[in-house]
Amino acid sequence: MSKEKEVVVLDEVTVRFAGDSGDGMQLTGSQFTDTTAAVGNDLSTLPDFPAEIRAPAGSLSGVSGFQLHFSSSDIQTPGDSPDVLVAMNPAALKVNLKDMKSNGTILVNSSAFDTKNLKLAKYDSNPLEDGSLQGYQLISVPITQLTMGALEGLDISLKEKERCKNFFALGLMYWLYNRPIEGSSKWIETKFAKKPLIVEANKKALKAGYYYGEHTELFTTRYDVHKAKLPKGHYRNVSGNEAVALGFVSASLRSGLPLFLGSYPITPASEILQELSKYKNFGVKTFQAEDEIAGICSAIGASFAGNLAITTTSGPGLSLKTEAMGLAVITELPLVIVNVQRGGPSTGLPTKTEQSDLLMALYGRHGEAPLPVLAASSPADCFWMSLEAARIAIKYMTPVILLTNGYIALGSEPLRIPSIDDLPEIPVNFRKDPEGFQPYMRDENLARPWAIPGTPGLEHRIGGLEKKHIYGNISYEPENHALMTKIRDEKIKNVQKDIPLLEVEGEKTGDLLVLSWGSTYGPVKEAMRRLKKKGYKLSLAHLKYLNPFPANTADVLKSFKRILVPELNLGQLARVIRSEFLIDVIQYNKVQGQPIKTSEVEGKILELLGGENGK
């Protein structure tokens, strides 16, 4: 009979699951996430996996990780440093140890620490025995061995039994953090419905892990993280890529336009295409094109024909789409280009994050080719910004670039499920009346009419050549080109009247403003909160609209003596702020393929404030 174990209540915990890319760590992590969401914690996740699908088993390059931050209060990031690391083999330990909090908990699968694996991980001696893990709470559990033991007598192969070890680890973590195992049990039943023996094996492993926690003397304490106080409503966990897909299907429902996606698979944007290809019953047409260019060009064709058209990509794909973006600019057709930024240039770091396509999004087209640029700030915000991008594209008859990045695209957090009334209105007015129609006549927003093929009496021709103002015929007249260039520019500037003002969180004027954009919002916000708790007076403004900027941007910037711009590039927003507003900023840049950590922003702010004396 085991002793009654003490339960310690924690505010928040960051857990990282790490193992071989074939060990099922992403799955283990997402199961833990679903259960954690269901018990009512706020949470944020981030997968970290290699670009290689199956690097050699046990090698350092093959390590795949999944980090989850959960809390009893509102949180913004997947957490800087794990409190707990689950390491399924020596390589996973080696790769992840440097990120751990000091005195953090390390749960290792000791069965995997054999000579071969130690050598593959380039360990000279066994870290479980050589004292190098002093300073951490090491919990050594022979997970593989215990799993095999629990599955003895089951009529499946040894290999299949061995593969159940991630569920043992999951079960043990459920016990340790006081979460129910039923959700994952059910999931196993559905997932492997056609293989009853595999269902049995995985469920057994899950339970064995759970009860191992309860009975072993290794653990004297278990932990609990209470429910978070989130706004009332229904929730579901979404990654940024899923949220983009949901956002555009919602935009389709709201506008009444069928959704068309022309896209080519590319990391880390492929999930959007994968997700949208599931929504056939929503009338969604997904065209997996022969290349990136066909992706955007088919979307332009679909837009011409009256669909809500989008294309999705990442850095290299954005480069390939640039010429066609110019075509969408001059033909003035609604189109959304979603760019999930990754480390560049060229192939760069496909599975890692960066914010280094901002300048390209703003300026990367030949000719004067302005278009609105938006950036989502978190996984759930990807939903709202997708709707917003669709709204602007249709209202102003323009292509719009929506920037996300690997960090928020693959990371997840709860999204409060909206009702139809929560969604912005997206009115569509196809031109029907031939009376007085001209393809380049304009409304009060300078948008031209959307006159789609199939409408009698509105037959017209558009294309990439400069258009005659109002009439739309080819025109090489110098004055006309100047006029059209200015109109296209003014039209995009007009969008400013239609977007929210830049909000300042904290003091409205003062010494230091932190100006963030896109995915840096989470860590910056978290850092501000920590510093506020310590008594610092601080201000944060977050940009989700990069072109045009909110109308009050200059006023906000001028209300502060100093402005800190943290970003995952070498200073792209900083450069734009300087050139647009003639205001200098202090840069904080990181280009390691990793998100900015809360502690890093906190450190930089403290440094600017003069350390503890700056309160």
């Binding site: 229904h234 949901l246 022309g262 011409f304 021709r461 080819i474």
Partner: protein, 347 residues
Amino acid sequence: MENNIKNNEVAEVKYTAKDFASDQDVKWCPGCGDYSILAQVQRSSPDFGEKLENIVWVSGIGCSSRFPYYMSTYGFHGIHGRAAAIATGVKLANPKLQVWVATGDGDMLSIGGNHFIHACRKNVNLKIIMFNNKIYGLTKGQYSPTSELGKVSKTSPYGTVDWPFNSIKLAAGSGATFVARSIDREPKHLQEMITRASKHNGAAFIEVYQNCPIFNDGAHAHLTEKDVKHDNVIVMEHGKPLLFGKNKDKGIRLDGLNPEIIDLSDGKWSVNDVWVHDELDDNPTRVFLLARFSDLQGFPIPIGVFRQFNKATYNDNVEEQIKLIKQKKGEGTLEKLFYTGNTWEVS
């Protein structure tokens, strides 16, 4: 047109060629073969059985790609090489539209090669007319992917050293379900090909030999000049023997898989020995034999339909699948969108 088009109730609208001409001045060089192609398209258009507003012409870049501006239908002048991709988007977005592509040998076979082969592979219901003048005209005289080996041009002053594409082989090999060839100087024949393409449900490709009087004048003269064309052109007609020559006294005989030219006037061969053209042949082998004539010395150039067959189109498959999934899962709603998978309530 004879009927009042403003009344949409009128089901049968009788158009004339003029109804398909836009108000724009046509700006091709004098004597350009494109004029004839435009005229034949406008003359054939009333026979398509489509309302004017349901026809869309899409193009890329090049002389040929100005085509949509001269038609009174909906038109989209795209960017270089991308016409097939744009047209695919139009067709998928609204499958009721009849979508045509006007393109050239450079636009479609060089920069647009990838889009071309994939549109053919998917059997998207597009009608592609490729104007083949074997030269880059709009950029003023560089060799094209269909220029013959040794072609002297501005970028090949000593002659090209690369082999040309055989467009018919490429289209047929990529899966186009209607593959034909015609010549700008054969108006009746060209009209027939265009009309037949309009009726075909699937990826239709017509290669039109077109003369560029400025940069490649006479490239097809052996196929168009009265005194020689009968010896150099063979008209393929379904179910009829492959005969050519002014008096139809020459024919093609198949010796196994080797075509040979036979003379029907010397008594050795009769018309019964001549290969009978079968457009509907399941086996593509003969299409490639015919396509190869243009690569062989001494063989006449076939014009007409090389092959026509039916298989499900990509756009129909897309529609079918959506219909099926809608039946299975019911029409999508916001509720269904969000409440699939794991959700929870905070109260």
